[in-house]
Symmetry: C2
Subunit: 344 residues, 2 copies
């Protein structure tokens, strides 16, 4: 008898239990109280018959729960990444399912309880989502479940993830400025050691170099990523002898304090100084005057991409390998009125 | 035999079914397939014995699911009311339970599916929450379940709700200005017909009247509640002969365009013009220069209050009346640098 011929029915018959019980045991289904003795009988039967308990055996579940969980750190409670939920939800709806969102508030114990609650409720899969792009470890409770990491990366090669393309974002921010003619450029970067700060700066510098702007004419300073954080570095940067005529701020909140520093120094935007932000937080970009050119984080698109990948796992036939995919999604530039050619 | 002596055991015995089945039938538990014949036998037995199927009979459920649902319109996906979730969650945690959040996106059909999904998962109760203060109808699916309406009012007298105290908010905004000495005042109100616009204006006018400011010296103009909406009305208001020296903007986004109008007219804040906002959206209030004095919507406190009331219902003993409470929570003033005494 070849391995491929062994079915779950054979295992059930050999172990003297139902097919459902075999499925629960081999998929390690949570929320099922199955006696340890039964579990070991099922595993023994499966081993003896050469039945491969594979990670997608979970699709043997007799019916879908028509729900997907989104475990987020603080996506639902802060103003920055809510569209992740909208993007995921729009895809989940096309599968006639609902999205159940939890908020861990970075509390590991709470996160475990929430994951347990979702698995107990037999969600069909879990989106594990971060408010800002970082490297995460997938909680062990989610092993063997359909899972996609959203707005974060993971080092686990068996897990799919999606993040914004930060490097290209930095490149495109510089591109807007060099195409407008700027040859002395500045970046006010987030002082935090996170992927976005490193990658946006690398992309920004690379685009400047590609435009043959000398390194000496590219100034990078650092501040906290809030509405006050860029003020002091911007004052320093813009008081230099040969000051930058185009500045890229790590995010829109920092761009807000670049506007303030410029006003303080008597520099008009965009005539004397061009500014590019990041996040396209409309409250800021459309509230500032002149409107701020900024890059959009693809929150909606990442949410939708992740939900689609999750369903690719959920829908994979039993026995098929789980498809693993990763993606960096582009951050489109939204042009407003804060960039023009440099003063002569 | 008095009615109070009849127990669920008696009904179960008379109907020839289990206590659990009686409980499911009488609480109209969702997700339970019970034959129509069984249902009517249970109802008949309950009627004959005079057993009162009351709205809190649901607490007869043998065990708690240790979860609470939050059905929100777009709280989790927009930047304005996320702290509602945080406040609710902090209370839910003290009950060793988790909060499952759904987002209806104002779609009635989706909302029904989400409520059904939550009830199928046997949540212990539901918070029915709105992104902004309005009047809502509690969906019929939630009848008989523990439910609290959050950041909205309902006309159903059996349902508890909590909203911000908008009238006192308007009163307090005027209070900040009249105490600083302003005698000619303006409000730029939201043009939408919602409780907040009517009540804030009424409170604002009442406080002006209490300070003996003549009606003729209180100007109210209207605009859309966004970062651009107050610009044109503010230009008109501040170009008047005897212009207001203190202006209350319906929200911080509108205050942002009051700042812009003031700059355009050469009026300095706060020396020439004092400004008070509403929402205390920190991205704006701390990003504007000078920092914007604003009122905080008590989102966190409303979330916590609603979750506490929900648990009062969940924990009510079987047969006890469901406690109904309503609350208007104060919107505290956060003083920053945008208000001073009027120019002489």
């Amino acid at each position: 008898m070849t391995q491929s011929r062994v079915t779950i029915r054979d295992v059930a018959a050999a172990a003297g239990v139902s097919i459902t019980t075999v499925s629960h045991v081999l998929t390690n289904a949570s929320g099922k109280r199955i006696a340890a003795e039964t579990r070991s009988r099922v595993h023994r039967a499966a081993d003896e018959l050469g039945y491969a308990a594979n990670p997608v055996a979970r699709t043997l579940r007799t019916r879908r729960s028509q729900s997907v969980g989104l475990v987020g750190d603080e996506i639902a409670t802060t103003p920055f990444a809510g569209k992740i939920i909208l993007g995921a939800q729009d895809v989940v709806r096309t599968h006639d399912a609902v999205l159940l969102v939890t908020n861990t508030a970075y509390d590991v114990e709470l996160e475990q309880r929430e994951i347990r609650a979702l698995l107990d409720r037999r969600v069909d899969g879990v989106l594990y989502a971060a408010m800002y792009h970082r490297v995460v470890a997938v909680p062990p409770e989610l092993r063997g479940e359909p899972v996609v990491v959203l707005n974060a990366r993971t080092e686990d090669p068996t897990v799919s993830w999606v993040v914004p393309d930060e490097y290209t974002g930095g490149w495109d921010a510089a591109d807007v400025l060099v195409r407008a003619g700027h040859r002395v450029l500045g970046m006010i970067n987030d002082e935090d050691d996170i992927p976005a700060s490193h990658l946006r700066e690398a992309g920004f510098r690379a685009r400047c170099a590609a435009a043959a702007v000398p390194d000496a004419d590219v100034t990078v300073m650092f501040g906290a990523p809030n509405t006050d954080g860029a003020f002091e570095p911007a004052i320093r940067m813009l008081s230099q002898g040969e000051r930058p005529t185009g500045v890229f701020a790590f995010n829109d909140r920092m761009a807000m304090s670049v506007y303030r520093a410029a006003a303080m120094l008597g520099l008009r935007i965009p005539t004397d100084l061009s500014v590019v932000g990041f996040d396209n937080l409309e409250i800021i970009t459309e509230g500032l005057y002149p409107g701020l050119t900024s890059l959009t984080l693809p929150h909606y698109e990442m949410g939708a991409w992740a939900a689609e990948q999750l369903y690719a796992q959920i829908d994979a036939p039993a026995g098929a390998p789980v498809p693993v995919r990763t993606a960096k999604l582009r951050c489109p530039v939204v042009h407003r009125a804060s960039v023009t050619s440099p003063p002569r």
